[in-house]
Symmetry: C2
Subunit: 499 residues, 2 copies
């Protein structure tokens, strides 16, 4: 298999001269906005994962497809690495720039091209914000289902690149399940259409391959998504438990009962108290855990399901189950959950948000394991997460100003991901691999699988110019690391490493 | 991009000596069942698309993973093409053997390994029949949703290879939407795990890439699927229309109303009369078109939806809407639809079943177009299809014993697919490309897109040994053909070509 791409990463990037590149770009695309002064580049040195920072060599802000096409052709010819960026809200450093590379910001492609209410589709440019799609579809009684918590700011192009999730993905799927078609440009500037508006598309499923590829395969220039009719009604139940394990068990049993809630979220005591202090959502501050379960659909159906979920929760040991009495209370219940991260931010100078996925049946055991690990490392861990998906977000609280605490937090984070992989889960749920989890990929996949990833990468980008150093680690990196794949619980898991 | 694979196809396959290969296989895997006599090979000369026939050089029937692994290593080393086959029910010739290649039959891998009712998953070997999974899951109130009409015979490995659909795919998705994980062997005999039992899997989405890849990327050795709880109730409505266009419009409006039926099927007058003669389903033989609409879910929900669908159909011009009075009538309504193909087979010595997909809104126009084309070519066309998906199955009736009729039928078929592509649809819905539609792929995709397909193929199978000549045409073939991609309705569409 071809490992050309492999050989290009990890500091072995081509040496690009900033002044030369700037001149070449200005010459080739006179009307392109390019940032090159130190102070202009500063705002682009990180994305939502602020722990990793690099000043990009140049930032390009195109407005037209032809500009992007010419830019890519030029970078390809001159061997310049290109990192794409949407709104920069990603949480794994997928849009972290390169010192020796161009940052291609697609934010100005922000036009909604067409809403087709009969076909229930929206065709939009990649810089359109996630929420803006639902807002444009609202007059037709439609919306776009995936709702990452950054939905007010994040762009659909970034959602596709990261295969973004959200609270409602349990029922409505990830980004990949809500996509019909994308237009992309390869690093050589070739235009490709992946997927189709028809039900199925022949040939290899390159649309799915592209979704979640984190900018390694091409630049997204247009996105056509499915829209869904807004559910007639949505009801929320809030259940209290005297242990996180019981709450975990209730989650597994709700799903096993054949009910698929619109959302099913868990918060532990630390998160409950933080959110209640901040938002006054009406949460039971003495509960060890709460579940928020939203049921949506047609009236009669939702009514029946509410009763069934109540029964299952009570049987699983809920000490109290409350249904939001009205829309105002429903919104309040969710506001507590949606603001849980900033709420926890008030408890501690710093926190480190993890994103691991586990099979649902493992929830009670993994929650116990996380608590044990937290004690061992002497750090508080709050849990707020998409319980229905098994997508956990442990938040490790620490103070970077205390010597050693950052290091301890990172080590604990590594241990928690280790635990996820050990029970058959994965090192990322919805935040992607990006730069943050590049080392953990060595544990998730064996060398044959990683080699195959590189071969696929090479099929799209033979020179390895698109977002190098993200998503797929080189075998070299994994070998240096001493952490090739995990066998039978034997986990030589390394701590997170800085870029 | 690497086009090594490209250069190997279209008759430029390696020259393999049958006796040498047989000896080598018998030596390397003494307990492997191999068929090599002419009369033993005969049953394997075609799959469900019987118009294409080739006698394979050898047929291998392994029972154990290690046998497959050794066999692939040997074929890789000796440069022998390998075509995988499940139950051989495919309708596009995807399992058509090669004269100079080995046919690898995976049918004996037919063990259901594990049903997990709590996680709602089934882990099975690739030769397990589609329906057998649902039967094994039935005691837990669960089933496997995708239901191709061959479900009693077709194997799950073949379903994954072809991304099989079925009547219920409108609501429950294609095979790719119901898969969690597969185990595969590469042509080099390497074992890979694609996907995971957790909600999402990091890295590129190779599971989706593999699904529908028609045996070009590797051999499937294990499949883990999602199971769904059986719906509480299912009701069927039968609506009559005095024109196919009105029925087509009703389909678009049902979906636009936000209702997602379990199944939504259309039959035109020719198909109605054929089915009624054969099955006595109680169909209205004077109707120009009927719609069968199944609604499933919980009682109250289904009741509401039935009323809404009735209203929409009536408004769209239905002359009559009947609800199956009881389970017996519901089964009878479906029996007519499910036996429509053999019923039409009674009307004509031969028929040619097409499989194109179009955006739903185009249904009325495309149905008119098909009727016009049928008149032009002097052939009858019956329409029986998954209307909700826009997945059409026009059946062209002809008599191969009448000089020129086969040729005319094929030409008409080409024109119909052409029409599908022109309105933004695709040349295949659920039957795959296989050998049958390899030429039409030249019209569906441009040379950049085809080159990318080849590059992806090369990433998995650098020597191009897995199922060459299927799914992805060589650029050489498309060039010879004079049919590179369709631009703005300009369609130099070639007639179907025999292998």
């Amino acid at each position: 298999m071809n490992i050309l791409y492999d050989e290009r990463l990890d500091g072995r990037l081509p040496d690009v001269n900033k002044a030369d590149l700037l001149k070449a770009l200005q010459h080739a695309i006179p009307d392109l906005d390019i940032l090159w002064r130190e102070e202009e580049l500063k705002p682009y040195e990180c994305d939502g994962l602020s722990a990793y920072r690099t000043t990009p060599m140049l930032v390009a802000l195109p407005r037209r497809l032809e500009q992007v096409q010419t830019l890519l052709e030029l970078c390809h010819k001159q061997n310049v690495p290109v990192v794409a960026r949407g709104a920069g809200t990603g949480l794994s450093g997928g849009a972290l720039p390169l010192e020796k590379g161009l940052l291609l910001v697609m934010a100005r492609f922000n036009t909604i091209l067409h809403i087709d209410p009969a076909a229930r589709t929206a065709r939009v440019q990649p810089g359109v914000r996630n929420l803006a799609i639902s807002q444009a579809a609202a007059p037709f009684g439609l919306y776009y289902a995936p709702d990452p918590s950054s939905q007010i700011a994040c762009s659909i192009g970034g959602n596709v690149a990261e295969n973004a999730g959200g609270v409602h993905c349990l029922k409505y799927g990830l980004t990949v399940h809500n996509l019909l078609k994308i237009e992309v440009l390869t690093i050589e500037g070739e235009r490709l259409t992946l997927g189709s508006e028809a039900y199925d598309s022949p040939g290899f499923d390159l649309l799915a391959l592209f979704t979640g590829s984190e900018g390694l395969l091409g630049i997204i220039t247009e996105v056509t998504v499915k829209l869904l009719p807004k559910p007639q009604v949505a009801k929320v139940l809030l259940a209290s438990f005297d242990s996180v394990e019981k709450a975990g068990r209730a989650v597994a049993e709700i799903i096993a009962a054949g009910i698929i809630p619109g959302g099913l979220e868990m918060m532990d005591n630390l998160a409950i108290r933080a959110a209640e202090d901040f938002i006054h959502a009406g949460y039971p501050v003495d509960a060890e855990a709460i579940l928020l379960c939203e049921l949506d659909g047609v009236e009669a159906d939702v009514h029946d399901d509410c009763q069934r979920v109540r029964d299952v929760m009570t049987e699983a040991g809920a000490t109290e189950v409350r249904q939001a009495r009205d829309e105002a209370e429903r919104v309040r219940f969710w506001a507590g959950r949606k603001n849980a991260f900033p709420a926890i931010g008030r408890l501690s100078p710093d926190y480190y948000c993890m994103d691991g996925t586990i099979p649902r049946r493992e929830l009670p055991g993994v929650l116990q394991g996380i608590a044990r690990l937290g004690e061992e490392y002497g750090l508080r861990v709050a849990n707020v997460f998409h319980a229905g998906d098994g997508n956990m977000h442990p938040l490790i609280l620490f103070d970077a100003n205390q010597p050693g605490e950052l290091h301890r937090a990172e080590a604990l984070g590594g241990k928690i991901l280790e635990l996820c992989v050990q029970v058959g889960g994965s090192i990322t749920g919805e935040h992607g691999v990006g730069r943050e989890k590049i080392n953990q990929m060595c544990a998730q996949f064996n060398s044959e699988e990683l080699t195959l990833f590189h071969a696929v990468k090479t099929a799209f980008d033979p020179l390895g110019l698109l977002n190098p150093g993200k998503n797929i680690p080189t075998l070299h990196r994994c070998a240096e690391f001493g952490a090739m794949h995990i066998h039978a619980g034997q986990l030589p898991f390394p701590e997170l490493e800085r870029f």
